[in-house]
Every structure is written in structure tokens, then in C-alpha cells.
Amino acid sequence: MDSNPRVCVMGEDVGHYGGSYKVTKGLATKFGDLRVLDTPIAENSFTGMGIGAAMTGLRPVIEGMNMGFLLLAFNQISNNCGMLHYTSGGQFTIPVVIRGPGGVGRQLGAEHSQRLESYFQSIPGLQMVACSTPYNAKGLMKAAIRSENPVVLFEHVLLYNLKERIPDEEYVLCLEEAEMVRPGEHVTILTYSRMRYHVMQAAKTLVNKGYDPEVIDIRSLKPFDLHAIGNSIKKTHRVLIVEECMRTGGIGASLRSAIIDNFWDYLDAPIMCLSSQDVPTPYAGTLEEWTVVQPAQIVTAVEQLCK
């Protein structure tokens, strides 16, 4: 926001309140109420407003207070955000960033625990990235703001407390690239967002058991970084996908298809995919735990894959 006065923020409680997870804390004091706009509770309309502002020269960062609320903005995100560059014959660009916290939290109930990446993935013209560490959050956010394409940036409710030393200076990460978390030889584990941490926890156990998993945080949910993914598969020949969205129509489903299309010859075993259960996330802690993939399941899956 310092370097480009056309970058602005809009969303519910982003200004005076500083954001529901304090992502925009202090910005309104620094940049004013118009650049950090507290909107009324009207997701479809303020998302559309952000899109109209982007088409006329601004670079809005639109926040969904919880990503799930953006279901109300589906009309605007699908029809206008994704499609208008095409429908206008390339005349208008829509350099928006749509971001917000999503994913399964701690007993927040079904509607506050949604993963919209699977719903948005078919929208043409949209890029989707999921950040997972403070380092890649900063780099991906900067890249998303600079991009001329509309980008949906998925943050996770449980990852805001992570602490990490990151460079003070500017750095921009590549929106389309995946991130190598842990190189290995035996199996490729593809994951994103919070599941990265469950995978790494499982990895500790796996290493103790003598396995050498390669963990890749795909980061770019649409499009997939087929180069990083492909190189890994060519090395390990075994793939496990660990995701938090639901199994049906999820990111994993698309990823499996893409891998089969491109790297079939390199596979020594069927692709395994661990996803959340196709249930509305229950409130009860025990049920909620069984809804998402846990490290123990990941360990079992790798053992099975490597048999």
C-alpha cells in the first residue's frame, strides 16, 4: 500500500477493527478510511464494487471476513471477477485480490469451517493460491497484489498464530510455483495450507520408521505447478495427496486427474488422496477431529503406499 496508492482494502471490519484476525491492523490509521474501507455486510455487492473499482483503475484487496461468507459473493466472483476480462474481449482487467481466513478451525461449526477452494476451482479466469507460513504469506500476498489477474488467496484460521523470522525487505514469490518443504526419495506428498503441518508431523514419525517422504506444498491451487510436481513423481513414483477440502470435487480430485494425464507412466502405485470427510463440520470436538485428516492417517497411508 505504501508503494502504490491505488492499492486499497475493502471488507467488513477491516478498518477500525483491524480485521477479524487482525490482518489489517493499523492500516486504517495510516492510510485513512477510504483506502481501508469498512463495508456494510453485503458480500455480493462489495465484492462487485471491488471488481468495478478494479476495472476502473484501482487495485482492491477484498476481504471475506471468513472465506465462507464469500459464498454470498459467488455471483460476482464467478460471473464478473473470473469472466469479465474475457467477455469484454480483453478490454478490462480485474487486478483484485480476494482473501480471507477459511478452513476448519476449533469447533467453529459447519458454516465457519468451509473450504471454498473446491467450489471456486472451476471458475475460468481466476487464480487461486493458499499460503501456509508467514514467509510465503507475505510473498504470495505481494505477488497477488501485483498480478494483473484476479487472485483468490486462501488463508487459514488456525495459522495466524505462527511466528517466523522473515526478511524485512520486499520479496515477491511466484504465484504459480509450488514449494519444496522436505526433499525425499520414497514418496511424494502433495499438500497445502494447514495440512502441511499435519504432514510434517507425520513425516517425523515416518522418518523414525525409516521412510523418506518428499513433501511439497503445492501453494498454487489453480493452476498446478506441474513442473515441481512432475519432477517429484519422476523421482519417487508414488503420490499421496493430503488436503483439507472435501473429497468430492476437491482440489485433490483435480490434482489426481492432472497427474494421471501427465505422469501416468511414472507411477508405480495408484495415487492416494486423503481429504476431509464429506460432512458439514460438526461442532463436537471429537467429531470435528475425525472430519479432517490427522497425522496418524497420513502415516498409515504412506506405509500402505510404500508396501
Binding site: 455487492s45 462487485g48 471491488g50 484501482l58 460476482q76 476480462h85 474475457y86 467477455t87
Partner: protein, 432 residues
């Protein structure tokens, strides 16, 4: 002082035909546009944003046409026209262009040159001409699927619109938008939307940009956005959400309702608890105005005030134009539900005929000049058809070109290069 205070007088020269002959189409339309708009509703809220000391609390907000009716007695017989000769010619030409173009669309559709859903604007020309001819190039227009004439009024060349309708690569959207998605960056026409209501937030965003440029970027920007939509849209959430935001932030926008009484086959009265749409402005903090949308001069007067308000930074206005579409909802609509008596009541108020009569009677323009304009427009539209006909359809390579502004969005291929860098890519597929 705004036009919408109780004491504003439309200036003492007569609006639209100071004749008091009952047969004048303008006057008869004044008295016949019941039941909406003329009633003074004491319940109408005085919004806090109307800073008029002349309105005592409890005085109702009066619609402009009500003012004109009450002023009628003061109009003197020696009328002088409210528009100049140049303006008359411009208005006439623009409306004739709209009408001729739409008639040609119907022909071309039935001849199999145009496809899909085509929604024609016949009968509503006064609204498009009345508003858009007042705008500058920098002002923006946002429309709906009934957008051909809005595009033409804003300055998009007829040949570009026709070619778009024919689905040719020379269309204003390269053939990728079609009838319902007219866009022009050059002329600040920001759509063309197929779903009703989805353009209103985009218009609100364009107005937000204008305010942002003025207040944050400190540019001398007073661009106004005009959003057009229909009666059906006024029952949709996005309409109300945007009325709220626009008034809250005093955005430079005019919300223009083209109330043609029908949403396909659903009568406005059957769909709406309170059919008087103009009344929905004041509860949100903006003036609500009702105007006879079959009379381009009245629309223009209201538009001047509404656009002026926005340009001065006084905030949005809701303008309800009572109008009528002479044809069906689209070229696929058999139009069986509308009463022929209703239709003929409105066709007798054809805005083009009315303006023609007015300018001739006021000696602004000779009939021969109008005929010359008719011929000029006929030729222009014919030329547009020829251009569209002879233009090439889009090639296969165009399919993927505009999916992303930055084609890196297609991702990195297995070989490590961006997929868009592959020369064969445009012949391929867009999937990830």
C-alpha cells in the same frame, strides 16, 4: 439547491411542450402517468442527506413531474424550447439510431445472422438518449442485457456493436461477449450483464474509483457513473445493498430504473409489494425521482440535475423512468401476456414521434432535416451490417487469449516453462 426539493421550480419556461392543447403528447403524458409519482406521499421520509432548509420536516419529497404538473398553470403561452437546435438534432439522431439499429437486429436475427438471447430496446430510447447524451467521455455507463442502445448512445460505433452481435472478431468484445455483454474501454461502457442486478455493484465500484481518485489520489476527477437497470432488478438484493453503500459514501452515481412494467412475463405490479420504485431512494438517504420515460426532454432535465448532483459530490440519486418496450422481452418472447390496449397506449407516446413533433412545432428543425437524419442513420446501419457480414469470425487461436490478463495464470507445464510460452498453446486446451 437540488431539483428535488419541494420548492425547486423547473425554470419558468415550459418543459416539453408548453402547449396546453390536450392533444400534445407531452401534456397528455403528464396527466396520464398515473398512478405513480404524482401523488405526494406524506409518509416519504426526509433523508438526512437532503440538506434543504426549505423543506420543513414532514414535507414530502416531491417527484419532479409532480412539480411540473403543479407548475403547469404558470406556464405562459409563448413557449420557448428547452433545448437548442444542436441539442435537438443530437437527441433526434441518437434516438433514431437506437430505433433503426434495433429494428435491424430483429431482421438480422430472423435471417440467422444473430443468435442466442437478443433483447431489444424499442420504445425506451428516451431514457438512453436523455441520460447518456449529457455525459462526458470520462463518465461511465453500466447497463444490463438490454444494452445495444446504451452502447450506441455512449459512442460505441454501430459497426462494432453489429459485428459483436454477429459474433465476429471485429466486434467491440472480439465476438466473445455477444448481445448481453457490450463493453468498451474507450467509451467507458462497463457492460453488458446477463444476470440482473450484477452490474449495479460494478457501477458502484466505478463510482467509488472516481471518488477515490479525487480524495486519495488528489486528481481533479468528477467522473460520474450511470447505472441502468429494470423494474425486476429493484426487487433484488444487490439493488438495495448498493443504494445503501452509494448513499453512505456519497458516491458519484445515478441509479436509473427503466421501469417498463414487465420482467419477461411478470408484471411489476404482481412482483412488487410497493410498485413505486422512486420511493425507495429516500429511505436510503438519496432523492427518489419519477419521470416520464417516454419524453426525452423530461428525462434530460431530470438527468441534468441528477448527474449534476453526482458531479458536485452531493451523492447518488434514484431516478425511476416510466417507459415501455414495444417488443417482447427478447426476440424469443412471444409477448402474449401484455394487453394490446396497454401497448397501444404507449406506442402512441413513441418518444421519437414526440420529439419530432416538438422540434418542428418550435421551429428548431425542419422536417426535411429530420428526414435527412433518418436517411443518414439508415445508411449507417446498413453499413454496419455490411461491415459485420464481411468481417471474419474469430480464429481458433483466439479461444484462450483473454482468459487471463497475464497468461502466466495458465501455469507451469511439466517441462518447467510457462504453458503460455509454448507456441502451440493457443491451439490447445485451457485446463490446468
Amino acid at each position: 439547491m437540488s431539483a428535488f426539493s419541494a420548492l425547486k421550480t423547473i425554470p419558468s419556461h415550459p418543459i416539453a411542450g408548453g402547449h396546453r392543447r390536450r392533444s400534445s403528447p407531452f401534456l397528455s403524458s403528464l396527466t396520464n402517468t398515473a398512478p405513480t409519482g404524482h401523488q405526494l406521499h406524506s409518509s416519504a421520509a426526509i433523508s438526512v442527506s437532503l440538506s434543504h432548509s426549505v423543506i420543513a420536516p414532514g414535507r414530502p419529497v416531491r417527484a419532479v413531474s409532480a412539480n411540473v404538473v403543479s407548475e403547469e398553470k404558470q406556464l405562459d403561452g409563448s413557449a420557448f424550447p428547452v433545448i437548442s437546435r444542436e441539442e435537438a438534432l443530437d437527441l433526434y439522431e441518437d434516438m433514431v439510431l437506437g430505433r433503426t439499429f434495433e429494428d435491424m437486429c430483429a431482421q438480422m436475427y430472423y435471417r440467422g445472422k444473430m443468435f442466442g438471447f437478443v433483447h431489444l430496446y424499442n420504445g425506451q430510447e428516451a431514457v438512453s438518449t436523455g441520460f447518456i447524451r449529457l455525459l462526458t467521455d470520462g463518465d461511465s455507463v453500466v447497463s444490463t442485457y438490454r444494452d445495444h442502445v446504451h452502447a450506441l448512445s455512449k459512442g460505441v460505433p454501430a459497426r462494432a456493436v453489429m459485428a459483436e452481435l454477429f459474433g465476429k472478431a471485429t466486434g467491440c468484445c472480439r465476438g466473445q461477449g455477444g448481445s448481453m455483454h457490450m463493453f468498451s474501454r474507450e467509451h467507458n461502457l462497463i457492460g453488458g450483464f446477463a444476470f440482473i442486478g450484477e452490474g449495479i455493484p460494478v457501477a458502484t465500484g466505478a463510482a467509488f474509483s472516481s471518488k477515490y481518485r479525487r480524495e486519495v489520489l488528489k486528481e481533479a476527477c468528477d467522473d460520474v457513473t450511470v447505472a441502468f437497470f429494470g423494474d425486476g432488478t429493484c426487487n433484488n438484493g444487490q439493488f438495495f445493498e448498493c443504494l445503501n453503500m452509494a448513499a453512505l459514501w456519497k458516491l458519484p452515481i445515478v441509479f436509473v430504473v427503466e421501469n417498463n412494467l414487465w420482467a419477461i412475463g411478470m408484471s411489476h405490479i404482481r412482483a412488487t409489494s410497493d410498485p413505486e420504485i422512486w420511493k425507495k431512494g429516500p429511505p436510503f438517504g438519496m432523492p427518489g425521482v419519477h419521470v416520464d420515460g417516454m419524453d426525452v426532454l423530461k428525462v434530460r432535465e431530470v438527468a441534468k440535475e441528477a448527474v449534476g448532483r453526482a458531479r458536485r459530490g452531493e451523492g447518488p440519486t434514484l431516478v425511476e423512468c416510466e417507459t415501455y418496450r414495444f417488443r417482447g422481452h427478447s426476440l424469443a418472447d412471444p409477448d402474449e401476456l401484455r394487453n394490446p390496449a396497454e401497448k397501444s397506449r404507449y406506442t402512441s407516446r413513441d418518444p421519437i414521434t414526440a420529439l419530432k413533433k416538438y422540434v418542428i412545432e418550435h421551429g428548431l428543425v425542419a422536417e426535411s432535416e429530420l428526414k435527412a437524419i433518418d436517411k443518414k442513420i439508415d445508411d449507417l446501419v446498413e453499413e454496419a451490417v455490411e461491415f459485420a457480414d464481411s468481417s471474419p469470425p474469430p480464429p481458433r487461436s483466439q479461444l484462450l487469449e483473454n482468459v487471463f490478463a497475464d497468461p502466466k495464470g495458465f501455469g507451469i507445464g511439466p517441462d518447467g516453462k510457462y504453458r503460455c510460452e509454448d507456441p502451440g498453446f493457443t491451439q490447445g486446451t485451457a485446463q490446468v
